[in-house]
Symmetry: C2
Subunit: 331 residues, 2 copies
DNA sequence: CATAGTAATGAATACGTAACCATTTTAATC
DNA sequence: GATTAAAATGGTTACGTATTCATTACTATG
């Protein structure tokens, strides 16, 4: 391994000067600059970023703890986050968190020197929040938020839930069902809350409607779908708390020979990229802005790294994207 | 920042002993072990992995240069690679390479201390190969391979191409078209070569068939599809070099009101996870093994990190996955 | 030409850890 | 209790860079 000392010796200057050539070349004479650059060239010198990180106490690495990519939402956000970070000179360490490995990931991340953390996996009442604040490590959550109501970028989940209910109602559907996720996550909690609130306002009793709270795994969604199919009074519309759930339900529907939307109306939330595919064409609720939630979060995070301004509370407004998995109810 | 020196002072031992407690506790008395562990606890000490990397010359980081996630193939491989690496104690730095930013990424990666590189973006005749060998940095390519025929895990691309042609032929389709990618990549080259070879064997002249070589962008695929639609003699079957292309073509078909497979048969290669979705249900060619190509590659890479055995040439055999985007031709 | 001021360079040090080698402590055997 | 071997601990250094401070080399001004 050739170091800056080797370069210095080869060029007949001090190691300090080599460092200057790389970092503050304007403080170096043209003549010595050339000498050093030539030496760097000849020796194929590559600066050691680990050593630099040690002395500067900055790694240039941001840790992303994402959900798994079989959820298309995280495909979109991971793409946006990684690319934005790279364009701004940061490297991204990626983890895909699941219920099983999340604790292991947290330990690994907390023991690693990372300039900041961007994650979505936080629970509404998660002890991780305090740990991060205590360690004074900059972080932001996207999609979900913590009860302490800071460091987050989300969509207006309650409004999204309301739009889902109102959309189905306006299409004539009153036999609805809801497939959600763990209520310990702000997204699922908020969407469900908005959904129920809207139904209440519309005069639809929610206590008789089938509500299911899954762990969002394929297995549980399948189990839930089979329960729905076997209901005495089958719902005409399935309201999924996320596009990921909705798209999985679509696959199950088609597998069983049901038609969409003739047999089941389906609606999701998130407006993931995949939902636009003409084989899917999922009616959904998503951000009004063209931007991606991951982009917004990583942009905010990089801002706070500059300014030490530790206050990010961003809730993006939402709207309906009407596509082909929904239709007017025919009696 | 609390260091191992602080812990040492607090526990009344040397920094060396603190280091031993963390790395070789069996060399330490129970009594001092406890003292040190208590000090660690009280001071909330977290070892600095950067300093450790510097002295050990190992970072525990592997760099993944993947293609973009809007290609579902890379969704599958990225998932497999990141998870496998994490399970084995490695962190993964992720980049999503495109034609535009690839050069920038290479520069960034080469200047960073990474234990190894796993990438798919290599060209058949890529100067990067020599650079990596020269720098003596362990690496592996998945999916694509370099002409120097080493450090790769791939599928049998030629065979895949043959299966595509034979499948369509056996269904009665002889008006075929091919939508491929840059022939500078071993995948596209091999698949196209196998496709042509099989057609030749079947007695179908390839010189009159419409072959298109795109850059795999949505824009070019769309342009190609429009050309296909406007052909005098419209092909009855579209053979895509990858599932990503096939799935994009499906969306374009449906958007224009064509039916699949009534108006167009469609087949891909890769057998990506998404192709199994019942809204897609794409006929495709993929690995016989249940494993993922990314898994195989990262597993091989980690092996070579242990053994310094620098020879990986793995070509996985393939088979047909017959689904619903293909059907017997009716005259 | 002297002098002050600035530009350019170098020497020494810190960053936080692991590793090497030396030293002290403990245990074991006679 | 003496001697020897083994176990446990500590002192020092290396890793490769940026930074701080000191020093030397220039330049400009009168």
């Amino acid at each position: 391994m050739v170091s800056s000392k080797d370069v210095a010796k080869h060029a007949g200057v001090s190691q300090t000067t080599v460092s200057r050539v790389l970092n503050t070349p304007e403080l170096v004479t043209k003549k010595t600059l050339e000498k050093v650059l030539n030496a760097i060239e000849e020796l194929n010198y590559i600066p050691n970023d680990i050593a630099r990180s040690l002395v500067q106490k900055k790694t240039g690495v941001i840790t992303l703890i994402s959900g798994p990519l079989h959820n298309p939402f995280f495909v979109d956000t991971t793409t946006a986050i990684v690319n934005y970070a790279n364009e701004n000179g940061y490297k991204i360490n990626v983890y895909f968190g699941t219920e099983d490995n999340l604790h292991t990931i947290y330990n690994s991340v907390l023991e690693s020197k990372t300039d900041a953390i961007i994650l979505s996996s936080i629970l509404y009442d998660d002890p991780l929040y305090d740990k991060l604040e205590k360690l004074n490590i900059p972080f932001i959550t996207f999609n979900r938020k913590h009860k302490k109501d800071n460091h987050y970028v989300e969509i207006d989940n309650e409004h999204a839930g309301r739009i889902v209910a109102e959309t189905m109602y306006s299409l004539g559907h009153t036999d609805l069902c809801w497939i959600g996720g763990p209520q310990t996550m702000s997204t699922f909690y908020g969407r469900h809350k908005g959904f129920c609130a809207a139904l209440h306002n519309l005069g639809i009793a929610t206590d008789k409607l089938p509500f299911y709270f899954t762990d969002t795994s394929k297995a549980e969604i399948k189990a839930v779908f089979e329960m729905i199919v076997s209901l005495d009074k089958r719902p005409t519309a399935i309201c999924a708390a996320t596009d990921a759930i909705a798209i999985e339900v679509m696959s199950l529907c088609l597998e069983k020979g049901f038609r969409i939307p003739e047999d089941f109306n389906i609606i999701g939330i998130d407006n993931v990229e995949l939902s636009r595919h003409h084989s899917i064409n999922l009616t959904t609720v998503g951000m009004k802005s063209e931007k991606n939630l991951g982009s917004l979060a990583i942009a905010q995070l990089l801002e706070t790294l500059k300014e030490e301004n530790a206050c990010i509370r961003q809730t993006e407004s939402v709207k309906l994207f009407l596509r082909n998995t929904t239709s007017k109810k025919v009696d």
